[in-house]
């Protein structure tokens, strides 16, 4: 390969990167960079110049409004990785105080608290058992003899609760009692030494947070496309991870038609770790696929013939997590592996591992990141190795002696301050001696023959650093295409560059040029706005699913006679593979500006209202429908890991405590009878009302019958101009009247109850408040139809019925059950009442998933809010991250 006869001019100075961030913020947009003369033989008129950037390139246009799923979603439930709100400390005050400082505050205390609450047996099991008798949980004052050996915990708990309410306040003073208690117990109460536990937790939290900011373990991407050997059959192999823990490796045949679709079932391998990277290269007509997880790397061979099964060749295990695995494009069965300890290996299937370099320090200046990378170069025995500060090339035959610097983060490459290498990649398929290096700001093309001076530089302006790159070499005379992909933001950028021969006569190669404007492509999450409108919680789940960070990138060029198209596959962390097609446009007058995708309303997209003339749009819409259906099926299946919480009551109460005052109530008897009857008849019970004939009340008709509703009343008066008066009237008259009635009732109750404990009066005052608040927002409570008919306010539930079935918005049954009186009449001792109330309120807060009503029933009970309530409960609850426990 010839070296370009003339290079674009540039300065070269050694040293650290510049202070300020580059020449201008637009960073290359509209700039042509340096110029060169267009070539010999054109001297006659004005000398023509070619720019380094901005030459006209090929035009590629998206065929569709959004990316389309290639594979159906896997059946298993996807557990999203922790989000910032799970780890960070949330407090307005705290944020204000720390506004000046950079850096986030980790919510250390909450996570430690989670541990104590979730694993009390592990945290203080044995001492808890020992001290059981010395902790008193009741409300009453302790008597003399007991006081010597017993602590009243209720007061402590109250103090803690008060502390919780003032959470985040920097001036909070610990109650002296708490301080005294913690001082006394800190050293011996915990099963795991507190200091050690805290250290481990803090380390883990910091690690999780830095992973959230930038997770470099995904570098390289976990998706590979193995094109067909002959290039004629349109069937390729997609290699991707899947499964709940992303630890299954799939080799899926994919047919490239208008919409690529899977053919047959994939070859599947279960691995012992989460797959971080899938790298592939073709040598002598065979594909070698390297797979990296944290502590294992494996290599598979895929024979060239289509339909041949992939065969695993070898696995290595590392002590330190591996950060890189690349497959040699020159020699079969050769790979390079890097670990986070700073070691680079050349891994040959035949001869094993050869250590090329070991240096825990970074190469050119000090950087804390343990990330290392390595790739092959034009010489099969020379490997590049990289860290965040730059790239070096080593000769595997004498790695200590023969090496040279290829790229340095510094003034040599015109880097900015703080710029770091994110992903290096060998561009051998386009040009044997070219190299791609991406940083969080720019992408560079390097030539091994002229180290340290990038032959091309482009500020990519992506929001997140590009962790994935894919090269599609162009035919002679055509531009090479490079795709850059970011993980967190799912950004995709298409760049074209050229290093073509300037003329066939001269035969000399022209310098590297960026051609055309870089083009932003659809991310997976962009398809959300084109999908049909969903119920809010479904929308939220879908949004969460679609905006999962990207985990890989692959692409292929497809030539079908004169039609050329590009297929781009994107993998998300949830295991979804999406695909989009770009169509090559021949030179033609620029089309009218295409429809702005960001302004289309949900559900009203051309993706779903495809005209009959374009079968492709229709196919995409169909594909989406099928995908959504499969996804909702996966959601509906109860995830196996969230079984219903079960607590043993045996220790808390005796059977007599829990027994109802009498036998089953008349209502229960009636129900039993109906059930038995229905079973005998083989029929079914449609509703549980005692009088099945009575139709469920329709709340809105009531209002309509009684005249215009308050809102239209209010609007009418407001329109007339005397809204003030209306409001006065309303508040002074009706509210005052009802308040009076309430007070009267309360007074009567009080008189009837006589003396009672403080906590009981607290409960009743709570009821009073809730009634008041219910009163103040009359509108919603009148309009709210969200109550299942059986649990209407009038029919208070029978005393024996489990409180579990009561929905959160109606406090009445809970109150009835939890009131001190009812507890007392069941013979539950005073000091246990509070505990029982807390215990039961836990049940009332998080009701277990009610079963989805069968379709026929659902259609009858079709109240929008009640339905959404039901299914929101069925949504898998977000798992709290519990660091390392």
């Amino acid at each position: 390969m010839e070296f370009p006869a003339v290079l674009f001019p540039s300065y070269f100075t050694a040293g650290p990167p510049r202070e300020e961030g580059g020449p201008s913020l637009v960073a290359g947009w509209g700039e042509h960079g340096q110029v060169l003369e267009a070539g010999p033989g054109r001297r006659q008129a004005q000398p023509a110049f070619v720019p380094r950037r901005g030459a006209t390139g090929e035009r590629w246009e998206a065929a569709d409004a959004a990316a389309v799923p290639v594979l159906l979603p896997s059946a298993g439930c996807w557990i999203p990785s922790p989000a910032p709100q799970d780890i960070l400390f949330r407090s307005g005050l705290c944020r204000k105080l720390r506004a000046g400082k950079s850096g986030a505050t980790l919510d250390f205390a909450r996570q430690l608290g989670h541990f104590f609450v979730d694993h009390p047996e592990d945290a203080f099991g044995s001492l808890g058992r020992l001290l059981h008798k010395n902790f008193y949980l009741g409300n009453a004052k302790l008597k003399r003899p007991a006081r010597n050996s017993t602590i009243r915990m209720t007061a402590l708990v109250e103090d803690i609760n008060r502390l919780e309410a003032r959470r985040g306040c920097p001036r909070q003073h610990l109650a002296s009692r708490l301080r005294w208690f913690s001082h006394l117990c800190r050293d011996w109460l915990f099963e795991v030494p507190l200091g050690l536990l805290a250290d481990c937790l803090h380390e883990e939290l910091a690690q999780q947070w830095s992973n959230l900011l930038f997770d470099d373990s995904l570098t390289g991407g976990a998706l590979a496309w193995l094109p067909p050997e002959d290039g004629e059959t349109p069937v390729g192999l997609l290699v991707h991870p899947g499964g709940q823990a992303m630890n299954h490796l799939y080799f899926q045949d994919v047919v490239l038609e208008e919409l690529p679709h899977a053919r047959g079932s994939p070859a599947q391998f279960e691995l012992s770790g989460r797959i971080r990277q899938v790298a592939a290269a073709r040598v002598d007509g065979q594909d070698f696929v390297g797979v990296r997880s944290d502590y294992h790397c494996g290599v598979w061979k895929v024979p060239g013939k289509t339909g041949a099964a992939p065969a695993p060749l070898q696995v290595i295990r590392t002590d330190v997590p591996a950060s890189c695995l690349t497959v040699s494009p020159h020699l079969p069965g050769e790979l390079s592996v890097c670990t986070q300890s700073g070691t680079v290996y050349l891994w040959s299937i035949e001869t094993g591992l050869q250590q090329l370099r070991h240096d825990p320090q970074t190469m050119f200046f000090r950087d804390h990141s343990p990330w290392r990378w390595s790739d092959f170069t034009a010489h099969p025995r020379v490997l590049s190795c990289a860290d965040r500060t730059g790239l070096k090339c080593l000769d595997a035959r004498a790695p200590k002696r023969c090496h040279f610097d290829l790229f340095k983060v510094g003034e040599e490459a015109g880097c900015q301050q703080g710029e770091r290498v994110v992903l290096p990649m060998y561009l051998g398929r386009a040009h044997p001696s070219q190299y791609l290096v991406t940083t969080q700001f720019s992408m560079y093309v390097l030539d091994e023959r002229l180290p340290l001076v990038p032959v091309l530089k482009w500020a990519h302006m992506m929001q997140a650093p590009p962790l994935f790159a894919h090269l599609m070499p162009g035919k002679p005379g055509k531009s090479h295409k490079v795709l850059l992909g970011a993980s967190r933001t799912q950004e995709l950028l298409l760049l074209q560059y050229r290093g073509k021969r300037s003329s066939s006569r001269g035969g000399s190669q022209s310098a590297c040029q960026l051609v055309g404007t870089p083009q932003k492509l659809h991310g997976i999450s962009g398809s959300l706005q084109h999908l049909p409108t969903q119920l809010p919680h479904r929308h939220h789940l879908l949004q969460q699913r679609l905006s999962a960070p990207a985990a890989g990138l692959a692409a292929t060029l497809q030539e079908d006679g004169p039609r050329k198209s590009m297929l781009i596959f994107q993998l998300s962390e949830a295991g979804d593979v999406f695909c989009q097609r770009l169509i090559h446009k021949a030179e033609q007058p620029p089309a009218p500006p295409s429809r702005d995708t960001t302004t289309t309303a949900p559900g009203s997209s051309p993706l779903f209202e495809a005209p009959a003339s374009s079968p492709y749009g229709l196919a995409a819409a169909l594909r989406y429908r099928r995908w959504l259906r499969a996804l909702s099926r996966a959601w509906r299946e109860p995830p196996q890991h969230t079984w219903l919480p079960s607590l043993s009551q045996r220790r808390l109460f005796t059977r007599r405590d829990l027994e109802g005052p009498a036998g089953p109530s008349s209502l229960q008897k009636q129900m039993h009878q109906r059930l038995r009857q229905a079973m005998q008849e083989g029929g079914r019970i449609q509703r549980w009302e005692p009088l099945a004939l009575q139709p469920p009340p329709l709340p809105q008709t009531l209002e309509l019958a009684g005249g215009p509703d308050p809102l239209s009343n209010r609007l009418t008066t407001a329109w007339a101009g005397d809204w003030d008066q209306w409001w006065e009237e309303r508040t002074s008259f009706s509210v005052a009247q009802r308040q009076r009635a309430l007070r009267e009732r309360r007074r009567r109750q009080k008189r009837a109850q006589g003396r009672r404990s403080l906590s009981a009066s607290f409960t009743s005052s709570l009821t009073y408040q809730s009634e008041l608040s219910e009163l103040s927002d009359v509108g919603p409570s009148l309009l709210s139809p969200g109550r299942p008919p059986i649990l209407s306010q009038e029919s208070s539930p029978p005393a024996g019925s489990p409180p579990v079935r009561s929905p959160p918005p109606s406090p009445a049954p809970d109150e009835a059950l939890l009131s001190s009186q009812s507890l007392r009449c069941r013979g539950i001792p005073k000091e246990r009442r509070k505990t029982l109330r807390d215990y039961l309120s836990v049940w009332a807060e998080g009701p277990p998933e009610p079963p989805e009503p069968p379709a026929s029933q659902a259609s009858q009970l079709c109240f929008p809010s009640s339905q959404s309530q039901l299914s929101s409960a069925s949504q898998p609850r977000r798992k709290r991250p519990r660091m390392g426990f």
Partner: protein, 252 residues
Amino acid sequence: GEDGFADLAVEQEMHGYFRKAAVNLKEIIKIPGVWDVFVKCYVDLLEFYGDHNEAHQVLNEYAYNSKFPANPNAHVYLYHFLKKQGESKKSLISALKILHDIVPSHELMIDFNTMLQKSKKRKKRQLGLEVIFAALDYAGWKENAKAWSCLARQVKQIVISEKHLDWIKQEWNSRKDWWPDFHFSRYLAKRNWQENKSLSYEKALVAGILLGKDCKYFKYVSHQGCKAQLKRFRMLKKIVTRHNPVNLRICG
């Protein structure tokens, strides 16, 4: 007459421009960087005005100043300048030797190899073998028929004369574990045969000498060549079979 006067004026004006340009270009070239365009123009100007010494100095400075990046073009310009000036073989070889040291895969290595092969000195011929072996290490040269024919010619020469077999042995030692897979696989034999018969001939000759007559590449190509009744390939088989013992000495 008047024409001559006008010509003189134009010439003087041009000279003024030249001097201005020369001053500016000289200043630019002093700054470390990649100034291929300016160096070329400046050298052109200097040559036009006959200032060959200055041109030589500029090119030397551009090639050998350690503050400048290791630009292969600087050495290429110097080499072409020296060649145009009719400098001695020795200085040409030393210019190319430095280029070989920085970029062993440069396309001028073929010229360098031919130049060295013609040399009478043994050391130079040995360097020639080294240069062509080193160039063929690179993926970009894998299918370069010219380079393979250079190597085949030199290797054949050595084997027939049975002198300096140790040169081949020395080069082969560091390559014998990966060249067979890199250059002489059966897959490549098939592809090279389909795409470029003369390339496959040269490669088969080298493979036959270096790896013996049982080498996959040689076997496939000679079989195909005999089947196609090409005289060249029959000769190839004869040479390799006759010199097969040499192979044992190279590998041993």
